[in-house]
């Protein structure tokens, strides 16, 4: 099946998401809450596009819109741009001091509005990527709490979570850098909990928490794991490979 995005004909499979088709064809659609590794949820609405079908136009969320039949898609109509601008304006009012959103304001020529009360310490746009990442690791240490305008991301009852292993995946996927990890004196502090950091056996650098190290090795059924940081692990793997190949040469 073929669909047309911004005048360009693109191959598509039935059920494929619009955003994926656009990306594959080099058409840029802005996103904040999308990550290829995690299922789409359509929370940030930045990726809205117009779909023309049977003479009618409708606004859809491209990250979760499955293509069912040949359609025409427009990603940058004046209507869409106007709505994206309002979305950026709303975001900038929520997280007034955030660099990522500030850049979006520049890109969309949005002046951060003076009208609203603002919280300069707020950085989270509640895109839920962190929660989805934590769910994917099957820890469920954080989730959204409350509803409506009081919604936030937190651990159960705002207390240190039993299941959090301090892996930092939540911070890694965060588009606005809202989740802070503090590593200090061999300890990691996040989500109101402190973790012991492990030193790499080889280079001596702190690289992860003990809980994370144990959890990963348990998942991988690794019986006697070596405490190696990512960098040293790669070097080690290179050396192992070199050994294997050198035996072949002989």
């Amino acid at each position: 099946m073929q669909i047309v995005i911004d005048g360009k004909t693109c191959d598509a499979k039935r059920g494929e998401f619009l955003l994926d088709i656009a990306k594959r064809n080099g058409i840029d659609i802005p996103t904040l809450c999308h990550l290829d590794a995690l299922p789409g949820e359509g929370n940030c609405r930045m990726c809205i596009v117009e779909v023309l079908e049977r003479g009618r136009s409708r606004v859809v969320t491209s990250c979760i819109y499955p293509v069912k039949r040949p359609v025409e898609v427009l990603t940058n109509t004046p209507k869409i741009i106007k709505m994206r601008k309002t979305l950026v304006m709303l975001l900038a009012s929520r997280v007034p001091e955030n660099d990522m959103i500030y850049q979006l304001c520049e890109q969309y020529d949005v002046k951060p509005p003076m009208r609203f009360t603002k919280d300069p310490t707020e950085e989270c746009i509640l895109c839920r990527l962190c929660v989805r990442a934590c769910e994917e690791i099957k820890l469920n240490a954080i989730s959204t709490v409350n509803r409506g305008i009081t919604k936030k991301i937190s651990t159960p009852f705002d207390e240190p979570s039993d299941t959090c292993i301090g892996c930092g995946a939540c911070a890694y996927v965060c588009p606005t850098n809202a989740i802070k990890i503090h590593d200090k004196n061999g300890k990691r502090y996040m989500w109101n909990k402190s973790f012991e950091l492990l030193k790499c056996e080889k280079c001596g650098e702190y690289f992860t928490t003990r809980e994370n190290f144990e959890y990963v090795n348990k998942q991988l059924e690794c019986k006697e794991p070596k405490i190696l940081c990512d960098k040293c692990k790669k070097t080690q793997a290179q050396e192992n490979l070199r050994d294997i190949f050198s035996t072949y040469e002989m």
């Binding site: 709303l90 959204t144 509803r147």
Partner: protein, 603 residues
């Protein structure tokens, strides 16, 4: 004495009457009649909502059809003596016509009941919801019997489709098409869900049906389950509806015991059962996909509906989800035929619609009218007009997601499409009438405030948009409105309407959009003149007494909780420094002498 002469005493045990101790009336009747050593045979029943909540507790006596209003336990003796034993009427307990002030004996002579047409509510207020035999006596479960034993699956779907029944939950999707699409999917198992998560402020349609006639919902769901091939059903009822849950639990037990639910229903080989799921009270769970998430045990947040629930619903299996009222319509259509149903209503909106008529009308209560009835008729004939004969200002239909319709649109017909055209929506059937003492900016603010707590908060336009619109409206209401606020409101409203993820978000700006469309000058008075024309927003209101109109009766002075009104020289006057703008003087004054002005800055 044969059965025809047997009198039925129907005591309303709907939530309104119950809160006014109608259970005592019921108990008294039962006790007194049991002890009576006379050859009067009367059946006493506690029924569901009889409709005219304003006049409750209601007692209706059949077959004479005598309606008694505001009945107390102490009135029972007199009713038994005069009406049950004798054939007399207790004049003082009759309904008194709002205009002629004359007592009206029979309910069908009362304006409130006269214009109504009952389909979904056909048994509500008439039968004892805790007695399945009462339901069966009203042709109950005959539609199920007909479909299971005489007709086919296709027949049920065809009839519903031909009847033109549309979903009564608000969106108005054709029910028959929904069933047919679901029936066509081969994946199993399939599910049937009843949405009883009624959350609109001032709405009590669904609870009245569940409380007053639970078996019609069970029967409707069972017919659908048979038609689409489902064996499991879920009844999602909000937990606050204690009586509804209790009556439904009882009804399910009785239906199972009578063979209308469970294994091999009526010997047809078809198995089906229904489980009650109690909702936690989140308004958003009335949205179908959020409701499904809630049943699955996940957080009640909606998902996009690009793939419909009838393909991938509960646990990603084909699911038919309908509203309580829709289900209650189904047995009627199967029994009476699609043609008969299709004759009622308008071309595109067939049948009737249940509304809870509340607010500043004389007759508040539960009503069911044919689709297409003009709003004016509902409010002024059935509702009896505005309380205290004040001026009508607007009617809010469709709950928080609906809109406010002004006087000059009162002649529109109430159906799915006309209401949408006027910027409002049918919704599940809340209807709140407002008089000239309602400030429309304040009304918009009230609904936005409700939604700010009830939005799920998942997507940005709905969560952030509502928050900011509410902020602007709060400012306008307390005199901090600015130039450009209305444009900003509209800009945000348009984006929220178009870019939100679910139905709640897409309709959330409706209160703002419709009040801006029909009552813009009221917004401008707030922002530019710092004046609330309705005298509601306290920061923008001052009251004064028009000395030309004042007759010096002093009633206002007695009513004032702040003692702010006193006689100075010859006239009464209001002390601004004491006045809290509660408005009780306005409500008291019979000469319309209290006038509303703008903000007075107290130095």
């Amino acid at each position: 004495m044969n059965d025809m002469d047997k009198k039925s005493i129907l005591v309303c045990c709907g939530p309104g009457c119950l809160s006014d101790n109608s259970d005592e009336v019921l108990a008294n009747f039962k006790q007194k009649l049991q002890g009576q050593d006379i050859d009067i045979k009367a059946v006493v029943k506690g029924t569901g909502c009889q409709g005219l909540c304003e006049m409750g507790p209601l007692v209706r006596i059949l077959p004479q059809d005598i309606l008694y209003c505001k009945v107390r336990a102490a009135d029972v003796d007199e009713i038994i003596e005069k009406t049950i034993i004798g054939n007399d009427i207790v004049e003082r307990l009759l309904y008194h016509d709002t205009d002629s002030k004359k007592g009206v004996v029979s309910s069908n002579q009362i304006d409130f009941y006269r214009g109504q047409k009952k389909i979904a509510l056909r048994n509500v207020g008439l039968i004892d919801p805790k007695n399945i035999d009462d339901y069966i006596a009203q042709d109950g479960y005959s539609a199920l019997k007909k479909v299971l034993t005489q007709e086919s699956r296709e027949y049920a779907i065809d009839e519903i489709e031909r009847s033109g029944l549309r979903g009564r939950g608000g969106a108005g999707f054709p029910t028959g098409i929904k069933w047919r699409q679901c029936a066509e999917f081969e994946e199993k198992p399939k599910y049937v869900i009843c949405n009883g998560d009624e959350g609109d402020p001032g709405a009590f349609m669904d609870r009245s049906i569940i409380e007053g006639d639970p078996h019609s919902v069970i029967e409707g769901m069972t017919i659908c389950a048979y038609a689409i091939g489902a064996n499991n059903g879920f009844m999602y009822i909000r937990d606050e509806y204690f009586l509804a849950i209790s009556n439904m639990t009882h009804a399910l037990k009785q239906a199972r015991a009578s063979g209308f639910l469970g294994k091999n229903i009526l010997g047809s080989g078809f198995d089906f059962d229904i489980e009650i799921v109690r909702g936690g009270g989140a308004f958003v769970c009335g949205e179908s996909t959020a409701l499904i998430a809630s049943i699955e045990g996940r957080v009640g947040e909606p998902r996009a509906k690009y793939i419909h629930s009838n393909e991938q619903g509960l646990w990603y299996k084909p699911t038919v989800l309908n509203n309580v009222e829709t289900w209650a319509n189904v047995p009627f259509i199967i029994n009476q035929g699609a043609e008969r149903f299709g004759k009622i209503g308008t071309k595109k909106s067939k049948g009737t619609k249940v509304f809870s008529l509340v607010g500043k009308v004389k007759n508040t209560g539960l009503i069911e009218v044919p689709m297409g009835m003009p709003l004016r008729q509902i409010i002024f004939d059935i509702g009896g007009g505005i309380n205290g004969n004040r001026k009508f200002k607007a009617v809010q239909t469709g709950g928080p997601s609906g809109g406010c319709i002004p006087e000059d649109h009162l002649d529109i017909n109430v159906d799915f499409d006309s209401l949408a055209e006027a910027g409002s929506m049918m919704g599940s059937g809340g209807m709140i009438v407002m008089d000239d003492r309602s400030c429309m900016v304040d009304v918009a603010r009230y609904y936005l405030n409700f939604l700010s707590g009830e939005s799920c908060g998942k997507c940005i336009p709905c969560r952030e948009g509502i928050k900011r619109m509410l902020e602007i409206l709060n400012d306008i209401c307390c005199g901090k409105g600015r130039e450009g606020d209305l444009e900003l409101l509209m800009e945000i409203a348009e984006t929220v309407e178009e870019a939100s993820l679910c139905g709640l978000g897409k309709t959330a700006p409706n209160p703002v959009i419709t009040t801006l469309r029909y009552f813009k000058d009221e917004y401008i008075a707030h922002i530019k003149e710092k004046r609330c024309p309705a005298g509601v927003c306290r920061e923008l209101t001052s009251y004064h007494i028009d000395q030309e109109l004042c007759r010096g009766c002093g009633l206002c002075s007695k009513q004032c909780p702040q003692d702010a009104i006193a006689k100075r020289d010859k006239y009464f006057a209001i002390d601004e420094s004491l006045c809290v703008k509660c408005g009780s003087c306005i409500d008291t004054c019979r000469f319309d002498a209290i006038k509303v002005g703008g903000r007075i800055s107290c130095k």
